[in-house]
């Protein structure tokens, strides 16, 4: 356990444990840094700054100010003012995941990148786009669609900005085929805690000049610097898409027929969902039909689940038909995804991410059901069977949630070298949870943080090991 020993974020006196500019309530606060001094310094940057209000909380911690920079230079000006007055800053875009990760140890300024919403450069012939961090994924998608192109990243939370997508590194269904944010990012501009503006990569797909800071910043939860803009490789929109959806574990019709794959006969009337998936999923992923994604939706571990497979390309319909033969009597081909496709499970106030090798995942599924029964928690499971990433929404008391996480983690980490991360949880539950679980190279990560943000001013405490 670590990190969750941070003060109760709902207790206003607790957030001032590190004397910040609003430390006036706390005896012993540094008198030299009165709020007005820091506020004046922020105002002097010329960047739009307002007092924080409802809706500006970061995992329950309310900042004092909200800054709205419009360029990398303006972010730098804000961070220089923060450096001069030792203010802690947290970056946000669409505010869809401000409640994710641990509460910051302190938070004075919320750097809202909502005004950095321009597509800076899109050369269709190069299949490359450079965008400011505050552009929403939807806005980017529509700009690219106009040129018949796309960024092949799924966005599980509507309203997510490019910066938020990168900072959290959250992946969706097509990560299996096209890679995740780290794989599609080819260049990045970041602003460090001291106001330094730095770039790495570029706008060509193939480039090995210098360190790839984009990878380092992807999934770093704002703890190393603020992402100002990003450059991605694109791809042409596929000529066609088709989804094959099948239910597993309960027949849709009484006439559902058993199906065979490489000598194994599988019965769709089986209630052993996990056993059925262990047979079906490898048949799909090992087929030469090259699915782009293989997703599961399992809303109740005592009931059936649904599997949906995406194929993309000019021969999508033909390949989908061939795939449906591997997916049993309930398989149906559609040009539309099922409604749950690519969305995080509900409820989403307690959300886990399980990562494990795809073949191990199929063996781990019974453990999820067992953990639910043993803990009393109710998991809603959704995610990629092919890539080995599941998102689990949990209903239950804090004790039930903690019990479920502990049991799943024992199996996932202990037996299959997997990882379970608590993406978000209500305060009461979070108190009893180790959010990050096993982190391999924590001492090295701490050293990276110390070099990039020695004053611990950027999202302090939000990340692994209290980084």
């Amino acid at each position: 356990m670590h990190g969750e020993g941070t003060p109760d974020p709902l207790d206003p006196s607790a957030v001032t444990s590190h004397p910040g500019p609003d430390a006036g309530d706390t005896p012993g606060a540094r008198s030299a840094l009165e709020p007005s001094g820091a506020g004046d310094a922020l105002a002097a940057t010329g960047v739009t700054v307002r007092e924080a209000g409802d809706g500006d909380e970061v995992a329950g911690v309310r900042p004092r100010w909200v800054a709205l920079p419009e360029s990398a230079e303006e972010i730098a000006a804000v961070l220089r003012a923060c450096a001069a007055h030792d203010l802690a800053a947290v970056a946000t875009g669409g505010r869809t995941k401000l409640h994710w990760a641990a509460p910051p140890e302190r938070c004075d300024v919320l750097v809202d990148l909502g005004r950095m919403n321009r597509v800076l450069e899109h050369t269709p012939g190069d299949l490359v786009v450079r965008v400011q961090a505050g552009v929403t994924a939807e806005a980017l998608a529509s700009a690219l669609a106009a040129e018949n192109q796309e960024l092949a990243l799924d966005v599980p939370v509507p309203g997510t900005t490019v910066g938020g997508l990168l900072a959290t590194g959250i992946a969706g269904p097509r990560g299996f085929r096209h890679g995740t944010a780290r794989d599609l990012l080819i260049g990045i501009t970041v602003v460090l805690a001291d106001g330094t503006i730095a770039r790495s990569g570029g706008k060509v797909v193939k480039n090995v000049a210098g360190y790839d800071l984009g990878k380092l910043f992807t999934g770093s939860y704002g703890t190393l610097g603020i992402i100002a803009d990003a450059t991605f490789r694109l791809r042409p929109l596929p000529a066609a898409r088709a989804w094959v959806t099948a239910s597993v574990g309960r027949p849709v019709t009484e006439t559902a027929t058993p199906y065979a794959y490489e000598g194994q006969t599988l019965d769709t009337t089986s209630t052993d969902v996990a056993a059925a998936l262990r047979a079906m999923v490898p048949a799909i992923t090992e087929s030469p039909l090259e699915p782009s994604a293989v997703e599961v939706d399992w809303p109740d571990v005592d009931g059936p689940c649904w599997v949906a497979v995406l194929v993309e390309g000019s021969a999508a319909a033909e390949r989908a038909k061939a795939l449906s033969a591997l997916m049993g009597g309930t398989a149906e081909v559609s040009e539309q995804p099922p409604p749950w496709w690519g969305r995080l499970p509900e409820p989403d106030d307690t959300l886990l991410e399980l990562r494990v090798g795809a073949s191990s995942l199929l063996h781990l599924l019974p453990a999820l059901r067992d953990a639910a029964h043993a803990s009393g928690a109710h998991p809603v499971i959704r995610g990629s069977l092919a890539a080995g990433i599941l998102h689990i929404g949990l209903r239950g008391t804090p004790g039930e949630v903690a019990g479920f996480v502990g049991l799943v983690r024992d199996d996932a980490e202990g037996t299959y070298d997997g990882r379970v991360v608590v993406l978000c949880a209500p305060v009461e539950a979070a108190r009893r949870l180790d959010r990050w679980g096993r982190v391999g190279a924590l001492p090295l990560m701490r050293r990276v943080k110390e070099r990039f943000d020695p004053g611990r001013r950027l999202s302090p405490g939000r990340f692994v090991g209290g980084i």
Partner: protein, 483 residues
């Protein structure tokens, strides 16, 4: 007794008897990698067999303040494995076990000395392969691929080494053994490590992704009268939404060299040839092939050949794969350049290269991965002609300037190494490089891991982040910048 001698004595104590090389004749065999213009005889060479031995070597280097350089098969083309006369060369050639193959899990765990092709050979029968395929894949090592983030002809569709490495056990410059994994929470240190050219530590075990062999592969050769028409075809293929596994182009001079060397039999009179490879589900490949063939004809291809079998495919690739070495048939010496431009800038950059040829009286043969704008201009010269080598070097450098001016990169796959460190400031600002250096300092505050590579200016990291006291003597002497 020098520091190196003291260190060598200690190395002998922790390594097997024949794993420490000090014989000057044997040391000289390690004096360069695939880029032979840079040479240095290593102070001492070690040939460890295990992670523990690598860690012990690195700890001893640190204890003695001696730099170390890692080397796999030594096929690199940027001098990334150039040894240090005052340092230790850690050669991983004895670490070549395939530790584990997990077909259901689609992964293999290998030691760094395993060759790239050996992985594919180990899993081919089961219908899998390791996707990145640098042209040296028969001999280059996975450890070297990880250091350089190697690409290959097929990275247009399948990506680079970094997209296919799932985890790595590394020995840090402190001598600690650390596991970096793409699936772990926390910073993506694995992503930063791959391509760091040996400056962040030494990979001692690498977990790679195995890919399903495609159902169908079709290769097409299209001949054009000139490079412009070939370039139009490339743009049209991409615009049509086709992502081939590879699109390679050669110009007339490169074709002439290949013909002289391997009699590849490319269509007579071709001013440019395009090799396009499509792979994937059969139905998909058939659709795409029809589109590509039509586009090539519309763009002015005067001959199109198709290979369906492995033998026919090899015949088409023969000329392309031999191109670098083949240039030796038409020129006594040459420089292999590696630059990248946005694909749409290709015509302008090629015109620029033409102007440079005229201006300096130097011939340039062009071979490139046209799909991703990665140029490999071969700058030809004759050492017997006074001043020609110098002019060739100028042309080679100015080609990189052209790449940077057009928004490209000074290296697409060969790496920066020692060769291009001086070009880094053309692409990056002081602040960009300083920020990269922060990562270096986190891993290697003493600057002992492959110093002198990647970055143009040696820098010191400072004792501890934050408060700094006094001025470092090297800074005072103007020998280094402190960051």
């Amino acid at each position: 007794m020098s520091v190196l001698e003291r260190l060598t004595a200690r190395l002998t104590a922790v390594l097997p008897p024949d794993a420490v090389v000090t014989d000057p004749v044997r040391l000289r065999t390690y004096e360069c990698d695939g880029l032979t213009v840079h040479r240095a005889t290593p102070g001492v060479v070690v040939l460890p067999e295990t992670t523990e031995q690598v860690a012990a070597v690195v700890r001893l280097c640190r204890e003695h303040g001696v730099p170390f350089v890692a080397r796999g098969s030594g096929t690199g083309l940027s001098g990334g494995a150039l040894p240090r006369a005052d340092g230790v060369l850690v050669v991983t050639s004895r670490m070549r076990r395939i530790v584990e193959i997990d077909i259901p899990g689609r992964r293999a765990v290998v030691e760094p000395g395993v060759t790239n092709l050996a992985i594919t050979e180990a899993v081919r029968d089961q219908g899998y392969y390791y996707a990145p395929d640098p042209s040296s894949q028969q001999i280059c090592s996975i450890g070297g691929n990880v250091a350089e983030n190697s690409g290959g002809a097929h990275c247009l569709k399948y990506g680079f080494t970094v997209n296919h490495v799932l985890a790595a056990e590394i020995v840090t410059p402190d001598g600690d053994v650390v596991e970096l994994s793409a699936g772990d929470p926390g910073y993506d240190l694995l992503g930063a490590f791959v391509g760091s050219e040996g400056t962040l530590g030494i990979a001692t075990k690498i977990t790679v992704r195995l890919s399903r062999a495609p159902e169908a592969v079709t290769t097409l050769l299209a001949a054009f009268t000139g490079i412009e028409a070939g370039g139009r075809a490339v743009s049209a293929i991409i615009a049509a939404g086709v992502v081939p596994a590879a699109i390679e182009m050669m110009d007339a001079l490169a074709i002439e060299a290949a013909e002289a060397a391997v009699r590849c039999g490319y269509p007579a009179g071709a001013g440019a040839v395009l090799v396009v490879e499509l792979d994937g589900p059969r139905a998909e490949v058939e659709h795409q092939f029809a589109a590509v063939e039509r586009i090539c004809r519309d763009s002015g291809a005067f001959e199109i050949r198709t290979a369906a079998s492995a033998e026919e495919r090899a015949a088409i690739w023969k000329g392309r794969k031999s191109a670098f070495a083949a240039v030796g048939r038409i020129s006594p010496a040459y420089i292999v350049q590696d630059g990248v431009v946005p694909r749409t800038a290709l015509p302008r950059v090629l015109a620029g290269i033409d102007r440079l040829q005229e201006e300096y009286g130097i011939r340039v043969a062009n071979v490139f991965h046209a799909g991703d704008g990665n140029l490999h201009p071969l700058v030809l010269f004759d050492d017997a002609v006074p001043g020609e080598r110098e002019r060739a070097e100028i042309v080679s450098g100015r080609i990189l300037d052209l790449c940077v001016e057009h928004g490209g990169s000074i290296t697409g796959e060969h790496g920066v190494g020692v060769d291009k460190a001086r070009y880094m400031p053309r692409m990056f600002t002081e602040d960009d490089l300083g920020t990269m250096q922060l990562l270096r300092c986190a891993f290697d505050p003493e600057g002992l891991a492959n110093p002198g590579k990647v970055f143009p200016t040696p820098r010191l990291c400072g004792e501890a982040p934050g408060v700094r006291t006094g001025v470092h003597p090297l800074v005072e002497a103007g020998l280094a910048e402190q960051f």
